[in-house]
């Protein structure tokens, strides 16, 4: 889309709002930069000169954070959870959203609202019943148990999100596919789903962010198993009680956040690509 060449009229509002966009961007960059920079200082520098540059880059903070927070225990589990729940959710939510948004049948409205209701269910309110259910199935302290919880709690948002994407696709596409003799399943897989690719990617990213940092359910349902956010939480608390070494703490935070940042940067270009593929010619 950046290749659009048509000249645009630029009103006064545009000139007024332009600095807003840029200052927001600069501020956001500043936040991430500050976090990264603080992870390379000494704690004294963080506290007494929070806005200055480090006198010497303390790469050792990362090693120290990695070992003392024991991130190693949680990384693999978190990767499994994030991928599993992202794919699992899409696998369940995309077909549901498709039939809810593109088919006119009596219950599509009520069922959509039924799913949306799940958005309003606060996690802490249903923790104990879920715990009891998982316990019956022997799924306490199991990744599979947590995965099910993540997928289920992601469903309301995902169904809702994808419903909008499906609903905004032009009706003619399906009709044209039908005229070509394509079966409804084929239409879904070959025509409709590829068009929502940008939506699916966005959804995956949003879920990955949520699940990567999720602590409440993980804390409630895991015991010996760890996720990376649990190790970070534990680390931050230990830091608070033993006198926060901010620099090491920031290094720990960076270790957790940087993979997310990379995922986002990588996937957001895929997102553009997906759009280009859909509308390119």
């Amino acid at each position: 889309m950046t290749t659009r060449t048509v000249r645009r009229s630029r009103g006064p509002l545009f000139l007024l709002a332009m600095p807003l966009a840029w200052s927001l961007a600069v501020f956001d960059l500043f936040v991430v930069g500050w976090m990264a920079l603080s992870s390379l200082k000494t704690t004294r520098e963080v506290v007494h000169d929070p806005w200055g540059l480090p006198s010497e880059l303390q790469w050792g903070n990362y090693g120290e954070a990695w070992t003392s927070a024991a991130f190693g225990d949680g990384v693999l589990n978190s990767l499994l959870l994030v991928t599993g729940s992202g794919l699992g959710t899409i696998l369940l939510a995309a077909p549901a959203a498709y039939v809810l948004s593109r088919f006119r049948w009596r219950l599509s409205g009520p069922v959509t609202v039924f799913f949306a209701m799940g958005l309003g269910i606060p996690g802490p309110a249903i923790m104990i019943p879920i715990y009891l259910g998982l316990d019956r199935m022997g799924l306490i302290d199991s990744l599979a148990g947590l995965l099910i919880v993540y997928i289920a709690t992601n469903l309301p948002f995902s169904v809702f999100f994808l419903t909008a994407f499906f609903a905004s696709l032009p009706r003619e596409l399906e009709e044209a596919a039908a005229l070509d003799g394509s079966s409804p399943y084929h239409t879904y897989w070959r025509v409709m789903l590829p068009l929502t690719r940008s939506g699916l990617i966005a959804l995956f990213i949003l879920q990955a962010i949520g699940d990567w940092g999720e602590t409440f359910f993980a804390l409630s349902f895991l015991r010996e198993q760890k996720t990376i956010s649990l190790t970070l939480l534990n680390f931050i608390q230990t830091m608070q009680y033993t006198g926060a070494r901010w620099s090491v703490l920031f290094a720990g935070i960076c270790i957790v956040v940087i993979p997310l940042l990379l995922l986002y940067l990588w996937m957001s270009s895929r997102l553009i690509e997906g759009i280009a593929a859909g509308y390119g010619k």
């Binding site: 715990y131 009891l132 259910g133 316990d135 019956r136 199935m137």
Partner: protein, 425 residues
């Protein structure tokens, strides 16, 4: 529950993808501890060492999970099931005598109190002492905690800056305010305070009031359904003292516009002179203190001739009724109370042991002496639910920040307390 039957198919499918966690075996001689410490904390090291020695001496395997402060909270849901994962759960006395005890799933530890400390002559009850034992008892009279460690509050200061206060701490509130005014005359804001934490802000009012009206008098106020107790002259007097503290300019400008722990770190950095905080303070702020900072603390001075008793929080263990191996868990408790581990609580963790024969570190020695003499707040075990969070703390904040007068405070307390109790029906 319905989940179990209906969900089995899906669960089975998911289990194929990710290996399901097996049940931990519980047949051998083994106990599991859910500790409130995290790996790397000094207290964790003390407990880990004791666990190792216990294994060696008894042959009982000890598995310890370092849960951090939420240990009790995280254990609660499992008490609804038959798989209670811990034989020992560590927490403070409030968690164990209220949250844990309220589930009716806590084992009564009376027999542990009757037993002898491992390798010693004295019983556990004698070693812990009557006061802490009472704090370990729930409202229904079930002994749900075995405490080993005590924390309390003190006025912390730098012994280097005020060597005279190390040997002769101020005895009366007037003595103390004289010191504060002397510092003010030197252009300093003498009192540090993290004004963003309501629980810290109420401490002045609470100590003044307990000195003036006694512990029972103060603790009778919250449950008073009419709210009229708050209009008593003692409360007004205590509130007036807070008001003059607020208006005296002792706190640094903007002390309530920072984020915890900014103010206690600034205090350690020398921005102010005194800070009323828990005995865990030195551990939290040591990295920010100037080299050579000597942490010292004295207890709250007397008000009109009466010294407020010490507020105490104890740390210790509880045992769930459904614990797999309660017998060995109890043995561990008598084991951990031995002098050699309790000395480490003092020397390694820099905390105070419940044991009177274990001296405290120099920084809190004054406080430990007061505790050992038994002057502790015995009425503190009353549970007033969310009264503090909803009624007392918001108004006490306004009082300390100088937004309302003492008279305004007592009047509003009376009104809001009555409204609170009315909402409870």
């Amino acid at each position: 529950m319905m989940i179990s039957r209906g969900g089995t198919a899906i669960i089975a499918a998911v289990c194929l993808l990710a290996a399901c966690g097996g049940q931990p075996g519980g047949t051998g001689k083994e106990i599991t501890i859910w500790s409130m410490w995290s790996e790397g904390e000094p207290n964790q090291k003390v407990l880990a060492e004791a666990a190792k020695d216990f294994e060696k001496e008894t042959g009982v395997r000890v598995r310890t999970q370092w849960k951090g402060r939420a240990a009790v909270k995280t254990l609660l849901p499992s008490l609804n099931t038959d798989n209670v994962p811990a034989d020992l759960v560590e927490g403070n006395n409030r968690e164990l005598t209220r949250q844990f005890a309220a589930t009716k799933a806590a084992l009564d530890l009376s027999d542990v109190y009757g037993a002898k400390v491992h390798g010693e002559q004295a019983t556990v009850a004698d070693t812990v002492g009557e006061a802490y034992g009472r704090m370990a008892t729930s409202a229904d009279g079930v002994v749900t905690q075995l405490p080993y460690q005590v924390s309390t509050y003190g006025w912390f200061f730098n012994g280097r800056t005020f060597p005279e206060l190390v040997t002769a701490p101020p005895k009366t509130w007037e003595d103390f305010t004289a010191v504060l005014r002397g510092q003010q005359a030197k252009g300093r804001s003498p009192l540090g305070q993290d004004g963003s934490i309501p629980n810290y802000n109420v401490r002045y009012l609470e100590h003044f009031a307990r000195a003036l009206m006694g512990d029972e008098g103060w603790h009778a106020l919250a449950p008073d359904r009419t709210g009229r107790g708050w209009l008593s002259p003692e409360v007004l007097k205590a509130a007036t003292m807070v008001e003059s503290l607020a208006k005296g300019g002792y706190f640094p400008a903007g002390f309530n516009a920072t984020k915890f722990p900014a103010m206690q770190q600034k205090w350690a950095g020398g921005e102010s002179d005194f800070l009323y905080q828990g005995t865990y303070l030195p551990k939290e702020v040591a990295p920010y203190a100037d080299p050579g900072f000597e942490f010292r603390a004295f207890r709250f001075p007397s008000v009109e001739g009466r010294t407020p008793t010490m507020n105490v929080t104890t740390t210790g263990f509880g045992i769930p009724e459904k614990a797999r191996n309660a017998a060995d868990a109890k043995r561990f408790l008598t084991f951990f109370l031995q002098k050699k581990y309790q000395e480490k609580v003092s020397s390694v963790a820099l905390e105070m042991s419940v044991r009177k024969d274990v001296p405290a570190a120099a920084q809190v020695a004054d406080l430990k002496r007061a505790l050992d003499s038994g002057e502790i707040n015995k009425a503190d075990v009353v549970d007033v639910g969310d009264f503090n969070a909803k009624v007392l703390l918001p108004l006490s904040d306004e009082l300390l920040f100088g937004k309302i007068t003492a008279a305004g405070f007592t009047r509003k307390m009376a009104e809001n307390a009555a409204a609170y109790w009315k909402s409870k029906g």
